[in-house]
């Protein structure tokens, strides 16, 4: 997610006022996410895997400028020639790109200039799409609508990354600053863990029906899953704290060999945002509301694949495959927290579905390029924008990624 741009552009939908409203709302939400932040917060990059908020704001704008305005706008001229390199993420077909680990060195353009860039592109885009609605060809309207939809989905992905990357940045600061104040004082309450059984059989996997999907969700195809059971809810902080307390990070028998090297090489002893209170007796957790006591009933977050796998082994269970997850989520009641809580690691390596075909040209250039040494996560997280999640959605990250809003749903 946020690393690839996989899409089917053969949609039959036209540009409509509804689409424009979605576009407008999405664009507005990105800016509102940055509201509580200073210019400095928006500019700095905490590690090569993360990007600055300002870069996300500019890159999502670059996307609309490059793939829609440049194609459809009469007499197109880029807002700033250098932005084509600075805010290109990976589209080799488009030309040069600025090195990812140096995104945080771009103190110029300023956040204000990036906001101006957003306004400029939004205005021109509005004018262009209005024109297409009034008197554009059906073909142009279809192409533009598909690209707008893609741009909206793309920007939604980056909205989640804005929160993810920002959280990582703020966590590096010994002052542990809050992004927003905590408003909800109520503690979580975890339901008892139950196991949902699914019989063996051939299941249909992949996107089905109308609307948007990324091309890694296609084609819809068949898989056979042997009988399995899936946990009714996500693993809680309290359950994981027991694993930590009982030496989970010190026992090589619980870890994949490569995971154990990673744990030892980095001296890991607990999840990335956990820390002991001063007296050492209790856990605290860094959150977007600053340091908070660890809520033992709340779902565990920010866990790597290696940690999820080790925990599952310790718990006498395992991680589900992505096919098991999708089959159960499609059919079974009794599963809670499928969406909107935490991305759920599966044991499935990210791979193409049978018959997978990448789209043509620049947008499809990197389709499937990440299908190696990454693991699929399913569901969605509390940081995923409203309306972005769906049953067939495939998120993916390397086994060491800890800074995502990722959690654990066990299987047996």
């Amino acid at each position: 997610m946020g690393k690839t741009m996989e899409i089917q552009l053969d949609s039959a939908a036209l540009v409509t006022p509804q689409l424009l409203r979605r576009l407008h709302a999405t664009r507005k939400r990105t800016v509102s996410l940055a509201k509580p932040l200073s210019e400095e917060d928006c500019c700095v990059q905490s590690m090569p895997d993360a990007s600055p908020v300002k870069w996300h704001m500019a890159h999502t704008t670059w996307f609309f400028e490059t793939f829609i305005l440049e194609r459809f706008e009469a007499g197109f001229k880029p807002f700033h020639p250098a932005f084509r390199v600075l805010f290109n993420s990976y589209y080799n077909g488009i030309g040069e790109k600025h090195p990812r680990p140096q995104r945080g060195l771009l103190t110029r353009p300023s956040t204000d200039e990036v906001v101006a860039y957003r306004h400029n592109v939004d205005t021109r885009l509005g004018k262009l799409l209005d024109g297409l609605m009034r008197d554009g060809s059906v073909e142009d309207s279809r192409s533009a609508a598909a690209l707008v939809e893609l741009g909206v989905q793309h920007e939604q992905q980056h909205q989640e990354l804005i929160l993810t990357d920002l959280k990582h940045l703020l966590a590096q600061n010994p002052l542990f600053p809050a992004y927003t104040p905590r408003t909800d004082g109520s503690a979580a309450h975890a339901a008892p863990l139950a196991w949902q059984h699914v019989d063996a059989g051939v299941v249909q996997i992949g996107f089905d029906g109308g609307g948007f999907c990324f091309d890694n969700e296609l084609p819809r195809h068949r898989q056979f899953t042997e009988a399995f059971t899936l946990a009714s809810r996500l693993t809680t902080n309290g359950e994981y704290a027991a694993f930590v307390a009982e030496g989970g990070y010190r026992d090589p028998a619980l870890w994949l060999s490569e995971g154990w090297e990673w744990v030892r090489g980095n001296g890991l002893r607990h999840p990335i945002y956990w820390q002991r209170e001063n007296d050492g007796a209790r856990w605290q957790e860094f959150t977007l509301h600053g340091l908070q006591p660890l809520d033992m009933q709340a779902p565990l977050l920010h866990i790597s694949y290696f940690e999820a796998d080790a925990y599952a082994r310790w718990a006498g269970a395992r991680l589900p495959t992505e096919f098991e997850w999708e089959a159960a989520a499609a059919r079974e009641p009794g599963l809670s927290q499928l969406y909107g809580t935490a991305w759920q690691w599966t044991s499935s390596s990210y791979a193409p579905y049978p018959g997978f075909t990448p789209a043509d040209g620049a947008i499809g250039e990197y389709n499937g390029k990440f299908m190696v040494n990454q693991y699929v996560l399913r569901g969605s997280s509390l940081a995923t924008p409203e309306g972005h999640a769906r049953l067939s959605y495939r998120n993916f990250f390397p086994a060491t990624a800890r800074w995502q809003f990722s959690g654990i749903r066990l299987a047996k």
Copy 2:
């Protein structure tokens, strides 16, 4: 392969004269593999992923000493206390182990001492097994037979690694020394490439029937494969040379993103053992017979997953999944070079089969420990010992591994 020791020990077979003959033949073959080598050839380690020949000779002996003699021999005393650490590979349950990258620093014990170690253990093992045949309990005889079988299989794996690692070592030497002289002067002749079709359906995957298998081949279970076609033979050097000549190593569009970084970061331009002749016009290949002209009709060898995947994309095809490979190999005539030529990369990440259960104790300790960020290879290679290959065998290596006897069978 060679990195894990996965076995089912519940065999019902007893110690028999036939088993002893297999043991003896296997042990003898290991020593004969080292015959053409000097002590120096046997001692040096060319990279952390490879081990010295002497280490392989000692480690396979350590296996029998530790898992059979120590358990069954009355008044057991180790041949040398330090060898328990020096020649332990990864069995944490057995105790400390010598760091893998430093195996090549062990100029002592000498090759002669290791040969003496082999003789000593072989003699004691023969005596022990003779005794078990004569007057051992059924239970002991079964256990010992299963462990001998495992030790034989284990040693066979290391026989392939001896050739693999030795080839890598000799290739580092600008003198390009030959392991053995070339005796066969006949050139290869590749059959025309045909495509075998397999219908969609549920297939049985995993080991079936009697005899030995590793536990990663179990349990036998069902998979669904959509219709596919598989290449009738392996990719040849000539076919791959066309990929190289047409800029295969210079076009990022052909590579997985991580593969492209690997290619650029290491400045790769051709397979590991290829090099240009002095005039630059023709390819040579380093072989166990020294530098040889590249045989364009012969099967391509020593290719990484990244290279195999890029070649397949360039050729308008893809790599098969391991289930496709096994399903086709089980049912279809028309496939040549399944075994005894080159391990064949599949697009399947190495993962446990549904219901997989690791064995207990030290031998099973690391079962499944490598099931992350590795890709499955099927079939077997020209370096695989006679009788070691089978339909359900799962070899596995990381996507960057180039020094194995690995090749390409395309799918569509």
Copy 3:
């Protein structure tokens, strides 16, 4: 420079209105250096060796708060407890410090808060020193005066680093932003290069006379220098461009062995801030006024020791020792550009003078700690604050440091 805090605190001077004016002017100048910069410019760190402008502003304030207010102010309370860690640079005696490579992650405190920190400390410091002037003991007044002097010198060092580090940051940006507009349109004109002869003899080296010096300039002692000649002026861009044009970066015979590895390992072909114009025919140079045509008559800047040494060898000369530099600068007319142009590399490894004694306690804690694998630079640069340079001043950097305002004066 900027990395050590070496001082003699046994001055007999008292706190005076003149000292307060110097303090005030120095503190004011730091803030004015940041005037042309945005908050983002002040926050970002371009490499581990450089620090953000905001950090320099806070650290110099921390110095006064920690070493003067904490000692002399009745009822002292730190402005912010966390700042004691965040803005400590290396004084282990004072407690923990924030890791240097992570200084750029501190988006909080904001630049505004740091300016408020400066105002707060300045106000309290003014009040304290006024009180000491009116009715402090002679002992307290002397101690405080020495510490104020040290704080002023320390802040002057950081003023140079602000410009040095900022230049490096802006140079990473493909927009090549200017810190200030270029006002001076006149081109430089280099005088002909002459050689000043100095006879062999015993010379006095080290600080002599009243006023402030760092303790690495003491004790004054004797050295013997054989007869030598020193270049009357610094090497120009044009002279160095000839070295580049004639293959200076491609000939290993010109470089120290370690320097050659550094050149090859980093693919270096010219000084850090040079680049070819688009047509490749002419050099441009990144400056604090943005990209500018390279002025061939102007003194060469931003050169490492390795580059300086290679150039000298190519030019049939060598770098002077620091004793030669000081002896010539002390006695000889005929030398221009000694101060205020570029720090001048010497061939002298940074080492203690005979009889060197570090000061006691936190301020002296790290005295001499950097006296290994660094080379001495003499003189001062155009970025050195007025009044900070002197004959015996010893700046020092590792042989690879390129981002300082450093140049070349040849010797024979």
Copy 4:
């Protein structure tokens, strides 16, 4: 030492029978050093800084072949064309060289072949030099004599390195094998430490008189040394053990800043060849006779510059400059262990003497190339061949080098 080949070739001496005897004895001693070793011991390289014994044997032979036979022998043909690359160490002017970290991968040529190479070159060299004695021109005889002398000195350097590198290799082996059995059972007895005073004054530094020297010992020139005192003997193991016991490796205040990072980064707690006995109570030391109890009265060996410097600070002393060492060693009685015990670190960075001129051509090609970031050691060690040491000899290594036979003589 062993890394550079600095020489003055303008000697007036001719080829004489005495010279031939020295040559013969030196060549013979190299082979005898390898006598107690197996082929494996001779082949393996324990780290990039060290070379295999076999490589030393071949490289010293390559030297005579390349610089003498190739120049003087009629119809010269190299023993093996590939050896010119394999056993070239750094002479760029001679052509390509094999990468240093891969010297240990050369299992071919075998040790026997290298011995044959030695015999071949020795025989041809003997014949050539005999001829020159009989009827060579004075000019040829002088040139050849100078080169033979250089080759002898060069081989002596490598004789010390053979022992140094071999000790490092054997120490990596958990069996701790002995190179030779211990014959001398007598314990050392350290004399009381006294301090020799030297008055301030101008001293003569550098080689003086006839015979051989390396060019880094020239020109003889003047230095001024302030008054100082020098320890009458080297630091003992017992004295250093007190430093270790009192937390020397845990107190950053004792270390240079870069040294402290090195200690922490490598987790160092004692000298490289020390280890605790099983009960933890006593120190053992790995020696060429295997593991031995640490002799507290014996001189400390195998210490880095950083360790020497930290110890000196802890002991309230410092390391001498190389000029102080040479001045004291030239004039003062009362100093023991100057030669034949341990190389003695000085605080002097390795730098050219005033007026230093490298020799011309390949032999001089790398003269002075190492004169950066290295520190000078004076005296000689127990591994230095008889007759190789002299007052003006300058050995040098980086501040982290621990595996040399290096020790500490304090100064004040």
